[in-house]
């Protein structure tokens, strides 16, 4: 992790952020216009949780269904 590597870091890309249940929270897209100005786009999740789903989340363990065994329900 020397200074040279920092400078030569190549362009990623797309970064996807997921919550504990594997749902996409945010998508980041990094791009460059080649003139030293860098651009990052933050995209909201493709589908946000409905109110009943959010209510259900209050009663389920964080990360359900991945965080528990399959016979939990």
């Amino acid at each position: 992790m020397d200074a040279a590597r920092i400078k030569s870091a190549t362009t990623p890309q797309e970064i996807i952020e997921r919550d504990e249940a594997g749902n996409i929270r945010t998508t980041y897209i990094l791009s460059s216009n080649g003139e030293g100005r860098e651009r990052l786009d933050l995209l909201p999740p493709p589908r946000s949780k409905s109110v009943p789903e959010q209510l259900l989340d209050v009663f389920l363990p964080a990360g359900y269904p991945q965080s528990v065994t399959e016979d939990y329900i």
Partner: protein, 400 residues
């Protein structure tokens, strides 16, 4: 049984004893408040009052479990003690209530009920977590059963002693003196009970103690030694050196956006549902710095806060390494600030000092982290379960 079990149980029993006597004072005050001994009091009003209390208490239970749920396990010592602080505050409110007019009294009793609900959630789940720590041979269920028989016999004795005390203590000043003495005993015994527990998992505070000793002196405290250094009510997310000095804060498992929005020269504008940021410093530089690691770290020098975003597939060791990196950066910054060595002055524009600090400490960590890991394991620390995250987990995945 794990070590520390006996002293924990002794203090735990003592606290139950004083708590059951103090509870009797509180119950008497509540009965007085609803009008026991008053010919004009109506049983319906008393019943409705208890319905109100129960309802707010239950709502509080659900909300509190939702709010702090994921922090209960890592911070179980803190919540174990906090539960009793909630409970004792509720008792004080109960005892104060008869002195107030009706509306205020209802509010106070409801507040007490909320506090009892918080106590219930915090005590129940942190006890479960502690029992799981104590049970060594798959004897969790039996251990719990015996725990409750211990508590039952002690509470029974407490109630008998309480009946004796309460019939003699009736004057205002005597009631308050005994209540305060009982509450002090209750909190002190609880504090001692929690202190005597020797946990081997690394939560944020224990990670600070262990990792800063490793970095500073390579003299690693055992779980038992570390338990003496632990503070029960530590401010969450603090980066503290083993000598007690506060170096800053650290948030682990954050969204990548909380790092990206702080990079130098970040300016943003919304665009439809999405948001666009523009930078002078390429975010790729910081991501590139961590492309071999399972985390991305940024240290904001203004607020001295380290932000760690975790990548998909990160293992316990990666989280420990990330925390170690944060400690190392905060320590370096605390000692020397953002110094730029003479030979690197030319690179100053290309590679900002903040990034250099991250890179240099990362190199140092790469050299030493293997040795740290070995030492952690041989000192008896649990390196397979990690309790650094206190919020629902967030992971990022980078495409190639």
């Amino acid at each position: 049984m794990g070590i520390g079990w006996v002293s924990y149980q002794i203090y735990d029993s003592l606290q139950a004893f004083s708590s059951s006597i103090a509870g009797m004072f509180a119950s008497r005050a509540v009965l007085e408040g609803v009008g026991v001994g008053d010919a004009q009091a109506s049983p319906t009003a008393a019943l409705l009052l208890s319905v109100i209390q129960e309802s707010v208490g239950r709502i509080a239970t659900i909300l509190f479990a939702h709010r702090v749920g994921t922090a209960l396990e890592p911070e179980c010592k803190m919540f174990r003690l906090a539960a009793d602080v909630f409970n004792d505050t509720a008792m004080v409110l109960d005892c104060l209530s008869p002195a107030f007019p009706k509306t205020t009294r209802v509010l106070m009793l409801s507040m007490a009920s909320v506090l009892r609900a918080l106590c219930g959630v915090a005590a129940g789940s942190s006890k479960a977590s502690l029992s799981a720590h104590f049970a060594k041979q798959g004897n969790l269920a039996e251990l719990n059963a015996k725990d409750s028989s211990q508590e039952t016999i002690i509470s029974l004795l407490g109630m008998l002693a309480g009946s004796f005390v309460i019939s003699r203590v009736t004057s205002h000043s005597a009631v308050w003196t005994s209540l305060l003495i009982l509450i002090s005993i209750h909190l002190w015994t609880n504090y001692m009970a929690v202190r005597s527990v020797i946990l081997r998992t690394l939560n944020r505070q224990r990670a600070n103690i262990v990792l800063s000793s490793l970095i500073g002196s390579s003299n690693l405290p055992s779980p038992q030694e570390a338990s003496h250094l632990e503070r029960i009510f530590e401010r969450p997310g603090l980066l503290r050196w083993v000598d007690g000095r506060i170096l800053g804060h650290c948030m682990i498992g954050v969204e990548l956006s909380s790092i990206l929005r702080q990079l130098p020269g970040a300016a943003s504008r919304p665009s439809g549902k999405s948001r666009i940021y523009r930078y002078d410093l390429a975010p790729q530089k910081i991501l590139g710095l961590f492309d071999k690691e399972f985390y991305v770290l940024w240290f904001d020098t203004r607020t001295r806060t380290a932000y760690i975003a975790l990548k998909e597939g990160c293992q316990p060791r990666d989280q420990v390494r990330a925390w170690c990196h944060a400690l190392l950066v905060a320590r370096k910054y605390d000692l020397k600030g953002l110094e730029v060595p003479a030979d690197q002055k030319t690179d100053y524009d290309a590679v900002p000092p903040a990034l250099q600090l991250l890179a240099k400490t990362g190199d140092e960590l790469s050299r030493n982290f293997h040795a740290y890991e070995d030492k952690l394991q041989s000192a008896g620390w649990d390196t397979t379960t990690i309790q650094l995250e206190t919020r629902p987990r967030i992971r990022i995945s980078l495409s190639e």
